[in-house]
Symmetry: D2
Subunit: 254 residues, 4 copies
């Protein structure tokens, strides 16, 4: 079974730089690109899409909340219809750069505070799915693996869209399959070796240890590297090497 290795990229803005996309993109098999609401701007989007296209990496949209200052990480109460419109706008903007670069968008993944919001709220999940569906039946919806993504997965499948379950190799999980929130002790897996070991386990469908020690099984189609984290490039290199050493095929979701 192949697995996808993905990164969130294109998060620079104007003169501001976040992430080393030139180094990171060649290491992954798909990328989710910021669309100008929480990060990214037209020039950054074009450049990032071209970079991904040049490396044969699958391109998806990473729409976020309209909050550049908060990097889309502040929870915001958004009306579902308005959210659908915001997602349509951002997918469309990125799709234009994809078209100019001769590639097609393959998936949509919500960013920041929107990620858990659409994964856990049926009305918001439905809004995202509706927006995605209107742009094409071949766009996959990416969301959290396990119980945390169940609401979004159900909405996507009900609409006939593929759901791509995502696990985080650098984040701790609770026994119930939800993430330990940032800020809580042990939430982040700092060791690249440990992250790589978890990547291999998840790729082989072997349960990993939750924060309590109890095993947590995570069925995932894609493994995420946070492009803006310090050490992201090194982490990606280790995870990629470990997966390849374990005989896993790296490939974007079919």
């Amino acid at each position: 079974m192949p697995i996808d290795l993905n990164a969130d990229v294109g998060e620079s803005f104007g003169r501001y730089r976040i992430g080393d996309d030139e180094a990171l993109i060649p290491l992954v098999t798909s990328v989710s690109i910021a669309c100008g609401f929480h990060a990214g701007d037209p020039a950054v989007m074009r450049h990032t899409v071209e970079l991904a296209a040049a490396h044969g990496v699958a391109v998806g949209a990473h729409p976020g909340l309209p909050d550049l200052q908060g990097f889309g990480r502040r929870a915001m109460r958004i009306d579902p219809d308005e959210l659908a419109d915001m997602i349509t706008y951002q997918i469309g903007a990125l799709a234009a750069f994809a078209r100019a670069a001769g590639v097609s968008l393959r998936h949509v993944k919500a960013h920041g505070a929107l990620y858990p919001a659409v994964a856990g709220d049926a009305a918001l999940a439905e809004a995202l799915v509706r927006a995605v569906l209107a742009q094409g039946r071949d766009l996959a919806v990416v969301g959290p693996a396990g119980s945390a993504g169940a609401v979004l997965e159900r909405a996507a499948r009900a609409a006939g869209l593929r759901f791509v379950a995502e696990a985080f190799v650098d984040r701790a999980y609770r026994p119930d399959g939800t993430l330990v929130p940032r800020g809580e002790p042990g939430a982040v897996i700092a060791s690249a070796d440990q992250a790589a070991a978890r990547a291999v386990a998840i790729a082989r469908a072997i349960a990993i240890a939750s924060v309590s020690g109890a095993p947590v099984p995570l069925r995932a189609d894609t493994l995420c590297i946070h492009g803006d984290a310090p050490g992201a490039v090194e982490l990606a290199r280790r995870v990629r090497a470990a997966l390849q050493a374990a005989g896993t095929t790296l490939a974007p979701p079919a």
Copy 2:
């Protein structure tokens, strides 16, 4: 020869309203819709595209400078490559709403300070044309009729794109075919009757009187109604009625 009657619409933003699009859109044959940089937001864009689709009015993108506070009317020095990216972004965002509404974009027309900028500067004209071309050979480029649009027309035709020459029924022209700038005496034609008479003349390819009295011939494919002007709806009604009374067919550019 049919002529197109167009309006700039979708210029509301959040709680802020500009223009009476519900009344205006049924009176014209094409609209240029703001794309969120100088005006418009995702919800307004969706609503405006749906409105145009419901009335069978041709939809185009109206990209502008990133300056909501200045309504895109402040001249800004933009690098041509960056301008191309901004236009790509805006066309894509609007195209997503068009796709969701089951229609296709038909043209691209620069807004505000960008309109004379791309019409008069070869590098900026080329940037716009390049951005449009990458989104589809069937998108027309709209620009000023006559000498004021010559640079843009040349760039569009060189790239194999259709150029749609636009005249303004409510603005005075100089003998050389350029507009009398806003702010100068007599720049705006306030009388709806006079505007309607000019519309009929232009549609029949009869020279109109320039601000000096000398006749100025204006070969135009489309006549513009400014949607944000007070009295825009009444003006559109009169112009439409006058053109129909004169036996002119109203239709979007072929």
Copy 3:
């Protein structure tokens, strides 16, 4: 006992207009002016401060969430320290226009989704109070009258700041003194006569009828007119006339 009649003003932005401030400001005794985050821009702020100064109306800051598109009405999770900084920024910006116009700011009142947030959350209330205090001990804090404002009132008084209790003449109250949320039946008092009658009762410290019919006593120092509501000017005129006919003195909080 005098009472203050206040309005939220300065909510236009660029070419976008909200409210008829020219007509409304002469009818009230204090105004809260938007500071550019949810509404308002530098030119609008200057003009609005000058208008208030010309009419001898007390000027206060109306800081909001950084969300022009949502008019500051979308709830957003903000870190208290960051909120304090946002409020400091907005107070300072408005204070500069007040200084230029030769007047001083008299109060600070949170706008939109921030209004209930700072009224009901101790950490956010403390953040607002801290920001206000650092700009001057003579600035009053405006918040909801009754139980809904208790947390903010306590925080303000603990810091030695005056608290100005505000009641809404055009909104229905529950028996516990909290507002009936917008969107629920009967939330808005549409009749100007009824609003005027409530204003007189509140000014005389007579309990008004809650939405259930049970009386609700509201000790208020100021009565709010929403400047952006349709009919705001007419409502202000009626309320003002009714209060004057009842012998109430209209004056900004001492």
Copy 4:
């Protein structure tokens, strides 16, 4: 004669970082702090003001054009009255953080494309001076030394404001005392040693070599280090050391 060493700081935004203000601020005697239009946000402004206050460094406002994406470096046509309002707003916002930190603003210096604009255009210079004057007669106006700053200097002095002439130790000058524009060959002095030598010469009122070799005398009160340039901290260290070795006193303008 003492000389001031200044840096442009506070240019981070949200999660985005520019410059190493913690290291740079202790090396200079005054700073110009971004005010949220082209860079900076409320949290960054508070932090930067506190940092400057802790190091006893004089604080000034660095207002810019409303263009975060272009970092305030794109020329934009702004109406002078509107510019005055934008500057008032930004000075006020920063002044509130200064007040909270127990310090006073000492100067105002335009940023980016606004710097040459107000230095060279009488109407814009007058607009800036008017905005500054309304906030206090003790605020100095910073602008280019020599002929490039003559228009602004005249406007400031006519209003009774102090003008602080600024020279750039890392930029080449033409024989007429204007800067060689960025992008032209030799515009930037990359060598820290050369920059330090120029700093010492300017501090001693010795003419430096212009780009043509001809000497150019530059009467300057302050020397600028660009905080966002790579190597800014090292450059500041060298310039500071060279000035001290030459027996020059470093101090903010009196």
